[in-house]
């Protein structure tokens, strides 16, 4: 049995009348990259904040690294790294000064901190800009610095809240390489995102919507759930075809992607391609059975799949 880094039971959080997180159960194994996939307002940030003790849960039981949260949050703070959406860097401090500051806040001795800083400057390709102000850095550079700062004290658990929202695809790919290095070294990483390509890289995923856990599992397992349920349609007048398809009882959702229409069918539809071809009865359309994507999983799991 794998060791659990995080175990959450019936976690919920209310802000006044708004229920931001509603009865969530999670088991996050140690050493994995675990993703929270969900749109804005799905509760990703709120859950992360509760897991690191920044917010007090309204209900439920939270254990992180065998510590009861929020009661033992102070002890937990020595073991976690946190990268906020805004990166939380001091714009008027240089790269090196930002790192030195956080090193001292985490109680690293001067010599240990100096060693770690050199190591991380090297690892995250920041050595050449160690004296540059954080305000003068590009999105990708700021992101790497934020990761360096968050991992300065070698945390066993790393929280990353939408770490790549302000970063171009190339930097994003680079960034994920760094995350896999960290994971390889034994760090548990919890990352929230609303990018499908990013979610696909996680070892395990939780799909969140309006504070509810809609689905979870490995990306492979999640995709397997949709085997035999996605059909691609090519042809003319796809807007009209979409309207017609959505009116069919077996169709859960339809979305146009360029010159193709992607149709997701209800579970247990026997031979979906055949069914659609019969129902649409249009010889100009080319229907092909296709492999599901994570976006299909997301759509199928959330209420966005209700005929939109």
């Amino acid at each position: 049995m794998t060791e659990l880094a995080i175990r959450v039971r019936a976690l919920s959080k209310r802000f006044g009348d708004v229920i931001a997180v509603d009865g969530i159960d999670l088991e996050i194994p140690a050493g994995q990259i675990y993703g929270f996939l969900g749109p804005n307002g799905s509760g990703k940030t709120t859950i992360i904040r509760m897991l690191c003790g920044l917010l007090t849960p309204s209900g439920g039981d939270v254990r992180v690294l065998d510590l009861q949260i929020p009661a033992q949050a102070e002890t937990l703070r020595r073991k976690i790294g946190y990268m906020t959406q805004k990166f939380s860097l001091y714009d008027d401090l240089t790269v090196q000064e930002n790192m030195q500051f956080m090193g001292r806040i985490h109680g690293l001795s001067r010599s240990v901190a100096a060693g770690r800083i050199e190591e991380l400057l090297e690892r995250y390709a920041l050595s050449s800009m160690r004296h540059r102000f954080a305000s003068a850095m590009s999105g990708g550079q700021r992101q790497r610095l934020a990761l360096a700062v968050a991992t300065l004290h070698s945390p066993t658990l790393l929280f990353l809240d939408e770490p790549t929202s302000a970063v171009d695809p190339e930097n994003r790919r680079d960034f994920w390489e760094k995350l896999f290095d960290l994971s390889d070294a034994g760090t548990t990483i919890l990352v929230s995102t609303h990018y499908m390509d990013e979610a696909e890289r996680c070892h395990q995923l939780a799909i969140l919507e309006t504070g509810h856990l809609r689905n979870q599992g490995t990306p492979q397992a999640l995709l397997a759930q949709l085997d035999n349920r996605v059909v691609e349609i090519a042809g003319d007048n796809l807007r009209q075809v979409k309207e017609r398809a959505l009116r069919l009882p077996g169709v859960q959702s339809a979305a146009q992607q360029g010159v193709r229409l992607r149709v997701l069918l209800q579970p247990d539809t026997p031979d979906p391609t055949h069914y659609l071809r019969e129902q649409l009865a249009d010889n100009h359309l080319i229907l092909t059975h296709t492999r599901p994507s994570l976006e299909d999983v997301f759509v199928a799991s959330t209420s966005g799949g209700d005929k939109s």
Binding site: R49, C52, G53, L54, L55, T56, P70, A73, E74, R77, R78, I80, Y82, T84, Q85, K86, F87, S88, L89, Y90, D91, M102, I105, H106, G107, V149
Partner: protein, 368 residues
């Protein structure tokens, strides 16, 4: 027309935002209200109720009669009696009284000779207070029933006056140390009021509170640099006051430091408390401005504390500026020692402790 419509759009948006910013809205109402009450009601340029003491070396009924006549002018309030003029002088230095009325042993001879019947020892550092007391110099005296009407023909003023600390009655003497209070209040409270708010606005606070740092460590760490800011400012103000306005330090340097540091601490922790209340830097600035206004009007900087009505004095007592005003004028102008002014120093230290405690309590290490 489209220009008008665009102006209208901006105006409507501005009104909406204004009505939703409760802090700004509060200021719009509170500032004129406060100014009107303070200027119209609390502040009177006619100085009354100056605390004085009487030193009666004659022990005579005449002295008591004269004292009574001085008392009913309401310019002064007699708060004590001292056996010797030296004790009274010490009380003036310590700031417990502003003046002392000293009757000589040969009071009856002086009454008979029509000479001045007593001497006022006056703290001249506040020119408004000393003017009020100087006006008493020529007040007509009616001596008691035993003396026939007109028997006392004053050929000289009724009293002699000794103006201490500021014999030339220069207003800058009082202004220079007073200004240091106002400038320090303004800058120190403002710097620290925006300090935490800025961290919050930039998202740094969210990261800091996931680290092992204790709120008190964060608070104290943020304050320390501003202690030096405060010291630099006061050196500039008092140094210029000395060199340019010729207002030299009468007291000892170590006493000066002993009264300055508690005030810097009190101002910084007050700013810190505002910082935990304000949601934006703008709000922090508004709160600072409001506090500054109170300090300028009520601390004794513009108007003598003694002349203010009781209610205004109670409010003034809460402000660190009022206490520091007494301290800095005491040490700087009258040469008082820190020990003589201990109660104000202790008050500032207590204030610092309370502010720091509340600020730390208010600053939870959570985002709830």
């Amino acid at each position: 027309m489209s220009a008008l419509s665009r102006i209208g759009a901006v105006t409507a948006k501005e009104f909406k935002q204004l009505s939703r910013d409760r802090m700004t809205f509060g200021m719009i109402v509170m500032i004129p209200l406060l100014q009107l009450i303070v200027f119209g009601y609390a502040i009177s340029t006619i100085v009354r109720n100056i605390p004085i003491a009487v030193v009666d070396n004659s022990g005579s009924a005449v002295a008591r009669a004269i004292t009574e006549q001085v008392r009913v002018t309401q310019v002064v309030t007699i708060v004590g009696h001292y056996a010797t003029a030296a004790e009274a002088e010490a009380a003036i230095v310590a700031g417990t009284i502003r003046a002392a009325l000293v009757f000589p042993e040969n009071l009856s001879q002086r009454v008979a000779g029509g000479e001045p019947v007593g001497q006022w020892l006056v703290d001249g550092s506040d020119t408004m207070v000393s003017s009020a007391l100087l006006a008493l110099r020529t007040m007509p005296l009616h001596l008691e029933a035993g003396v026939p009407e007109g028997a006392y023909q004053a050929t000289a003023p009724s009293f002699e006056v000794a103006l201490f600390f500021n014999p030339e009655r220069r207003s800058e003497v009082n202004i220079v140390p007073g200004l240091s209070v106002i400038i320090l209040t303004m800058t120190l409270v403002l710097f620290t009021a925006v300090a935490l708010v800025r961290e919050r606005e930039h998202g740094n606070l969210e990261l800091l509170i996931t680290t092992p740092i204790h709120p008190l460590e964060l608070m104290v760490g943020k304050l320390v640099p501003y202690i030096f800011v405060g010291l630099i400012q006061i050196i500039i103000i008092l140094g210029l006051g000395w060199l340019v306005f010729n207002v030299p330090l009468q007291g000892e340097l170590h006493d000066l430091v002993a009264v300055i540091l508690p005030f810097i601490a009190a101002s910084l922790t007050l700013g810190l408390l505002l910082s935990t209340i304000a949601a934006t830097q703008m709000q922090a600035m508004q709160m600072t401005f409001f506090l500054l206004l109170l300090s300028v009007l009520l601390s004794g900087f513009m108007f003598p504390y003694d002349a203010m009505p009781k209610a205004a004095q109670y409010i003034a007592e809460i402000l660190p500026a009022t206490h520091f005003m007494r301290l800095i004028r005491g040490v700087y102008l009258r040469g008082a020692t820190a020990v003589q002014l201990l109660s104000d120093i202790l008050w500032l230290l207590g204030f610092t402790g309370i502010m720091l405690t509340i600020a730390t309590k208010r600053f939870h290490k959570s985002l709830d």
